[in-house]
Structures are given as C-alpha cells and as structure tokens.
C-alpha cells in the first residue's frame, strides 16, 4: 500500500476514526468547511482517508486552510480530532512544498533564534530604545537582560521588536509594576514555534531544546510564556513529546497576571479602560490546552479582565468552545488570503454580536488575524492585548 495512504489510515484509526457516525457536528463548527473549490470539510477528510485515498489528503490545499483549531475534535462524539489528521498530512508534505512562508519562518527561527532574523544587537537595541521611551514615565524602570538567577524567563514574539515595539513598553511597565524578578534573554527569546505548523518535528524539537538550554543557562525557574497560543502549546506539548528534561515550569503570562492580581501586586484602575470589551479565547491556550492536559488560560484571563475594565461581555460560544480567529495553524502566512478572510466570517459575527468596541486577544497571532478581519470586514472593533489593558490600568 502506498506509504502515505497507509500512514494516513493509521493516523485515522488511532484517532478512533472508524467511529465516525456521520453526524456532521465537526462540519457545523468548522469555519473552514466547504468554501473553496475543494468543497471539503472535516467529515469529508475522514471519508477520504477511510476510503483509501489518504494520500490525496496530503495534496490538498484544504489542509493549509485548516487552522488546526481543534474544534472538530472537541465537538466530535467519537473523539476524532481531524486537526490531528491535518497535522499528520502536513508532516507528509515535503517541507519545501508547504505553502506561503510557514516553513521559511520556522527555518529562520532555527538558524537565527527568532522568526524575524533579528540579530542580538538589533533585538537589544530595540529593547533599550523602548526602555528609554519609558524613562520619563517610569524613572526606576529596569529591563533585565540575561540576568542569571532571575525567577521568570520572559519570551517575546519577534513581531513585537519588528513591528509593534510599543507593546514592549506595556510589557516592561507591567512586569515592573508587579515587582517580580524577571529577565529577557539576548538569544533564544522567541515566543513562537512555527515548525509545529508544518509538521517539521525536527525543527520544532531543535528550537525548543535551544530555548530550554538558554533558560537553564540563566537558571530561571519559570518560563513566562508571552501572550501567544501556539508557542505556549508547542512548548508544553513539545517538552512531553520529545522527552526534554527541564528544570523550570512553563507558565503563560496571563496566568502570571492573574496570580499577581490575586497576590495584590498590582494596583489597577478599571476606569482607565472605558467602553465595552469582549474576550477572545485563543484556541491553543484554551481548547487545545485543555485537550492536551496543560493549563488553560481561560479563567485567568477572565479574572484579569474583571480587574482592568469596567464592562466586558462574553462571546458566545466561549472558552474551549470558542471559534478560531482565522489565523491559526500558520494560516496567517500560508498565502490563502481570500480564503482566510472568508473563513473569518464566523469570528466577525461572533464579535459583532457582543457589541464590544475592543476585543481582548491575549495572543499575538490572534490579534493580527483579528486586525485583518476588522479591516477586511470594515468593523469598528479593535483587538487589544491583555498587557496593554493592564499597562493602561496600572496605578503608580
């Protein structure tokens, strides 16, 4: 039997795919179902594999439209997670044939330590620059870099120094106000892992190990994972998957924020964030985290929101039933822009229904995706990071 077909069938049967009862629950919840020429949805993917055409699945564009949000697996009464099958199929696609910029980004991460190919100097220059910008406002602000023995090793998504350096200011302000021991790193500071999206396990493992070593070198006891979904997920599941020994725990920064609030470390004035907010639960940090058995940030994010703004409403559905931002699984840079925009319609409507002016989005990729949707659908609501809301609400 053709090797790819065989592997896909094995992956399917491992997922309990023989148990598909054709109910269509996966299709009902999948924003990527049946729009493009391929006319596919999670149920049909299962069929293709069952019927001995699994090799064709690896050739489809659809597996790159899929944002691997995992909602199919979450709603399936037979426990079949089609996003896992999509991952299996992606892994069978030669890396140089994966679409868009996903593999290239993963390769850059591997060779330079971050997605944006920033040198250590460039990175630290930006850090210093942003710290200087804050000097007037927060005169005693310290931004530790490479501090051995600091409690928290903070990862940062390289989009920040590259495109949104002001966000660094919010983060610095916040960590300073919390009065915790923390540090940035001059190397292996990236808070993403795009190799997971192409099924490139070798690169996923390599970059993760490099970062783990760096944390060990600095002797930090906590890896504070920046506001990101997939990076957090890739790190925690990667440590398990690759059996990487580590002498620290990994905590999502949102959980740290919540902890700081509970400990009374932050004085916050919610009136600093007026208007109605809503909360977007990032798939990888909530639904997929729950299903992976790693901590979800859902309740912590809510606790924080309760303290940083006066009015916020839930989207429906929410938490682990939330819909994907449309940019997950590498979809942001897979190159299928038109499709991605169309697939975001469910998300747009979900946000519309809340009547919120701002969408709290504690994940860099989600935020980018929601920004794209706001633009493409001409919506007035604005996505915003939780660190921004916190930074605004901090009372000195």
């Amino acid at each position: 039997m053709n090797d790819t077909r065989q592997r896909m069938l094995e992956a399917l049967l491992q997922q309990g795919g023989d148990g598909c009862v054709s109910c269509g629950a996966c299709v009902a919840g999948c924003p990527v179902a049946d729009w493009n020429e391929e006319r596919l949805d999670p149920r049909r993917i299962v069929r293709l594999i069952q019927y001995g055409v699994g090799d064709r699945v690896a050739e489809l564009d659809w597996i790159w439209h899929c944002t691997t949000c995992g909602r199919c697996g979450y709603t399936c009464p037979s426990g079949i997670d089609v996003s896992t099958l999509v991952q299996a199929a992606r892994a069978l696609v030669p890396h140089d044939r994966s679409p868009g910029q996903i593999q290239q980004t993963a390769d850059l991460h591997c060779t330079t330590g971050n997605n944006m190919q920033l040198t250590s100097e460039q990175w630290l220059e930006t850090v210093e620059w942003m710290r200087d910008e804050l000097a007037d406002d927060v005169p005693d602000l310290e931004v530790p870099v490479d501090r051995c023995g600091a409690e928290h090793f903070l990862t940062i998504n390289s989009k920040l120094p590259m495109y949104y350096p002001e966000d660094l200011q919010d983060i610095f302000r916040l960590f300073h106000a919390a009065g915790v021991s923390w540090t940035l790193s001059s190397s292996w500071w990236e808070g993403t892992n795009y190799a997971m999206f192409t099924g490139d396990e070798a690169t996923w493992e390599h970059t993760l190990r490099q970062q783990v070593d760096r944390v060990h070198q600095l002797g930090c006891r906590t890896m504070a994972y920046t506001e990101c979904g997939h990076g957090y997920y890739a790190t925690l599941t990667g440590l398990q998957r690759f059996g990487i020994p580590h002498r620290f725990r990994v905590v999502h920064v949102v959980s740290l924020y919540a902890q700081w609030i509970r400990e009374g470390r932050l004085r916050l004035d919610p009136s600093r964030n007026p208007g109605r907010f809503t909360l977007h639960d990032p798939c990888n940090a909530v639904r997929k985290a729950v299903m992976a058995g790693i901590p979800s940030i859902a309740e912590d994010a809510r606790l924080v929101l309760d303290h940083v703004c006066e009015e916020w409403v839930e989207m429906t559905p929410n938490r682990d039933a939330n819909y994907c931002c449309s940019g997950g699984g590498g979809a942001l840079i897979a190159g299928f822009k038109r499709a991605r925009t169309h697939h975001g319609r469910t998300k747009v409507e979900q946000i519309d229904r809340t009547g919120a002016a701002q969408v709290c989005s504690p994940c860099v990729n989600c935020l980018d995706a929601l920004n794209n949707l706001a633009q493409d659908y001409q919506r007035p609501w604005k996505p915003v990071h939780l660190w921004t809301l916190l930074a605004r609400a901090i009372v000195s």
Partner: protein
C-alpha cells in the same frame, strides 16, 4: 395485457442481464422479467470478486479455466466495472504446505498467471497482513462492481430494443406437449396481469430456477448454499487477499471500492427468502478473516448480507466439493423445445454462461449470428477505462454544488440522484431509496442510509415522486430493510451509529409512535 416476443429472459441478475444483452447483440428481440429489482439475488449479495481462478486451480480445474478466460475478457469489455486490484494468496503457519506446491503446479497446468512473491514484498504491499505469513502468491484477481455490470448490460440491451420489466413476477406457465405457450406474470406494484408469448424462454433465475422449471412441469435439483459476507467501514487492503489452502469459510477478503468485503460461508438452507446472518456466522467470519488480516478483529463492520448460490445437486458430499462450474439445461430430455435454464456458476463467468445458453437459443431460432460479447465493450467500458475508487474520489474537485449532497458518507449529490430517478421513472419504476441505493452508492457508507434515507425521502416528496403519508411509509420500509443487514454486526462503533439513529428516529421524530 399481452406481449409477444422472440425470447423471454427470466431473472434480472447479472446472468439474466448478460443473456439479454447477448441476445440483442445477435439481433434477437428480447424481454426480461425480474420479480424485484435488479440483482436481488446472488448478483447483489456476493463478494464482488473477479476470480483469477486461483481458488479453483487445485480442486476444480474446470472452473479455474473458465475463470482465467473470463477474467481477461471482462477486464477488456467490462473494464469500467472493474478495479484491477490484483490479488494475493497467503499461507499462514499451520496451513498445509503441500497445497502451495500443488497450487503452482496446477496453475501452470491451466495457464493461470501466478507468481510466488517474497513475503517481505507482500507485507510491504499490504502492511495489514499478519506478519507471520509464510508464503505469498500473486494472481490477477480483481474487484468488480456487479450493480454497475448489470446496469451496463441492461442499458446496452435496452438501447438495442430489448425491454426490461422489473417488479414483474412469473406466476404460471401454460404448455402443451412440447412448448411453453404462455407465461403469466404480474406486476407486483400495480397488480396488473400480463401474458407473454415467446418463441424461446431462458430461465436465468439463479437459485429460483427450480421454481420456474416447476411451473413448466419440470424438476431440476438445486441445492441452496447460503453465503454470508461482511462489509467494513474502511478500505483496509489494496488487493484481494485469499487463504492459500483448500477453499473454506472466511478465506477471501476483497476491496470493494471504498470498503473491504470479507466472507464467506457455505450453509445449506431451504428458504430462499428472508436470509439472515447469525451472530455465530459473523463471529466465524471475523475469526477466519482476521487470521490473515489481524486488523479485522478491531474493525468496524457496517453490514452483513447473504446470498444463495444455486448448486446443481449431483449427490452427496459437502457443498464445497460441488463444482462451481455452471450448467445449461436444454430441457429437451423433458420434452420441451423452447425452454433453457442456465444456473450455477459464478459472477466471474456470467458472460460465458450467457454465451452458452444464447448459443443454444439461437440455434433453435435458426439465428447464426456469432456471439460478440468477447469483443464489444459494455457502455462505460473500453480502452483505458477502469473503475478506480481513488479516481472517483479524487474528482472531489468536481463535486456537487455546496449544500446539495444527499449522501455524505459516499458523497452522492442531488444531481446524480435526480438522473437516476429520471431513468427509474422512464422505466416505470418507483423511485425509492433502495432503488437508488443499488444504482449509486447512496446509503452504502458508514451510516448505511440512516441520514441519507431521510434526506432522500424529503427530496422525493419535494419532487412529487411521493405523495401523502407515503413518505414515512417509504422511509420506514427503507430503515427496516437496511436493519436486516446491520443487526448482525451491531457491536463497537456500528452499535454507536445505530444508537444515534434510533435516538434520532424514535426520540426526535417519534417515527415509531404512530401518532
């Protein structure tokens, strides 16, 4: 109503259809009667195996030779109904090793293209085979879709002027000393009585040939041998897999487009209607087949079905000992000059069976046109055309328009179904889910028509093909009919499927409530 024709063919299975077509190709006017829908006998309840002949080389070389010849012919003229899967005979530890040697020798003798392949190679080709297999022999087995083959034969014959009357049952025959003068039949749906006068009559009614013959006052000894088969949810092998040992139960595994079919048994029965498959039979089949393919122990089976083989009785001995070759009765010894019966045989040899009996009939009609079914391809077959499930599914880029799928399991769209409904209506047939099921794959997938049955009835109501409370009657009939095949395999995942469907039909719809 009275109809006159040159030849009357009784039996709408593949053999009858083949006879009809052969007749029309020789310029004979012909009419076919089938008491139910096409392929409602063994032609609709078999393995779907186009034999290479390997199964018979050792003990039944006559059958083997027939298969070898027909296998090659059908791959040419019925190519669109056949997936050229290839086949393997595999031996397991404990199997009679001398059989393998006998096999190759016998293969050489009858001209079967069989090759021993290294076990490693077989395991690579078919990774689900038990790793412990000791021998593997490659043969040109293939998978044939009998419904497509019957439809193609009937369509071709109809194009040449033949008439096909489904749901029409022969009730009596009137004869004089030498001839059957009239054949009485009844349209089981309208109740209309029809009288047919034919110069020649061919009975191709499978195991019912003895009943037909009895109407003409003739006795034919037929033994009914029931064979049960199981269908899996997924396609687990690329090739046909056979057990390399004397033919027994549960020793064939055949890929059937999107599924795997495994069987079979051989149990004498007395009642041809209401065939059932017992839990014991199912368990036996699973046990035997999983010796070759261990994955079958955990597999989900979606259906069990049974067909009856007509065996022309020739005395004592087990059914497996009876020759699988076919028999043509000319009935001249019984004093009749215008009846012929063709029975026995197998799916693979249908064309040859048809040729032989039509040769006889044409001799009687003084028609000397030679048989051309070895050359003229069936519609939908020919050079470069094969039945390849993968090709069909790969054409997903031309699927039905969004939202117009009737059967999600097999991805059958409304347009295709409408075309079939149209042809059914033209042939005076009522469009019902089961008739549709035979003509495309609607209802043959995981849910076995549970969801698409409902959608289809809704669609038929919409079209006006069903009226009044008929809709639910048709739906319930369909659900009950499919139930017979599902009931024997209800454990594991298929039980979950049925539990969901029962909950929806009885819970949400209360269709059992009669309210």
């Amino acid at each position: 109503m009275k109809i006159e024709t040159e030849v009357l063919v009784i039996g709408g299975g593949l053999t009858g259809a083949g006879v009809l077509r052969d007749l029309t190709l020789r310029g004979v006017q012909a009419l076919l009667l089938e008491r139910r829908d096409m392929d409602s006998g063994a032609s609709g309840a078999n393995h779907g195996l186009l034999h290479s002949g390997g199964r018979y080389v050792v003990h039944d070389p006559e059958s083997a030779a027939e298969c070898i010849g027909e296998n090659a012919i059908l791959k040419r003229v019925a190519s669109g109904c056949i997936e050229q899967t290839g086949g393997l005979f595999v031996g397991l530890p404990g199997d009679d090793e001398s059989y393998a040697a006998d096999f190759m020798a016998a293969a050489a003798r009858v001209g079967l293209d069989a090759r021993v392949v290294p076990v490693d190679q077989a395991l690579e080709q078919e990774p689900r085979l038990d790793r412990a297999i000791t021998t593997a022999i490659e043969v040109p087995d293939a998978s044939i879709n009998p419904f497509m083959a019957t439809m193609a034969n009937l369509a071709d014959a109809a194009q040449r002027g033949a008439r096909v009357m489904l749901n029409t049952q022969v009730t009596a025959m009137r004869r004089d000393a030498h001839r059957i003068t009239t054949v009485q039949c009844i349209d089981s749906r309208t109740g209309r009585e029809i009288e047919i006068e034919a110069q020649q009559i061919v009975s191709a009614a499978g195991p019912w040939v003895d009943r037909i013959a009895a109407m003409a006052g003739i006795e034919i000894g037929i033994a009914y041998s029931k064979g049960s088969l199981l269908v899996t949810n997924s396609r687990l092998t690329d090739r046909v897999i056979n057990r390399l040992r004397p033919p027994g139960d549960g020793d064939i595994i055949v890929p059937g487009e999107t599924v795997t079919i495994t069987g079979t048994t051989s149990i004498r029965v007395r009642n041809l209607d209401h065939l059932t498959t017992s839990a014991a039979e199912v368990d036996l089949l699973v046990e035997r087949a999983s010796q070759m393919l261990p994955a079958l122990r955990q597999a989900r089976f979606i259906r069990a079905y049974a067909g009856v083989r007509p065996l022309v009785a020739s005395g004592a001995g087990s059914d497996r000992g009876l020759s699988r070759s076919f028999t043509v009765f000319d009935h001249e010894g019984d004093g009749l000059v215008n009846l012929a019966t063709v029975t026995g045989g197998k799916l693979t040899t249908y064309r040859l069976m048809a040729e032989r009996v039509v040769d006889l009939i044409c001799r009687r009609l003084d028609n000397h046109t030679p048989c051309s079914t070895t050359q003229v391809p069936l519609p939908g077959s020919g050079e470069g055309i094969t039945l390849d499930a993968r090709q069909r599914l790969a054409r997903l880029s031309e699927p039905p328009p969004a939202g117009e799928v009737l059967c999600e399991c097999e991805m059958v769209g409304r347009e295709q179904v409408d075309r079939i409904i149209h042809s059914l209506l033209q042939a005076g047939q009522r469009p019902e889910p089961n008739a549709l099921r035979l003509r495309c794959r609607l209802g043959m997938g995981s849910c076995q028509g549970g969801f698409c049955g409902f959608r289809t009835v809704g669609h038929l109501c919409r079209r006006g093909d069903l009226s009044g409370p008929e809709g639910n009657e048709v739906l319930i009939r369909f659900l009950e009919k499919r139930w017979g095949g599902i009931r024997p395999v209800l454990w594991g995942e298929q039980l979950r499927q049925e539990q969901l469907l029962e909950a929806l039909y009885c819970g949400t719809l209360n269709i059992d409530g009669g309210l």
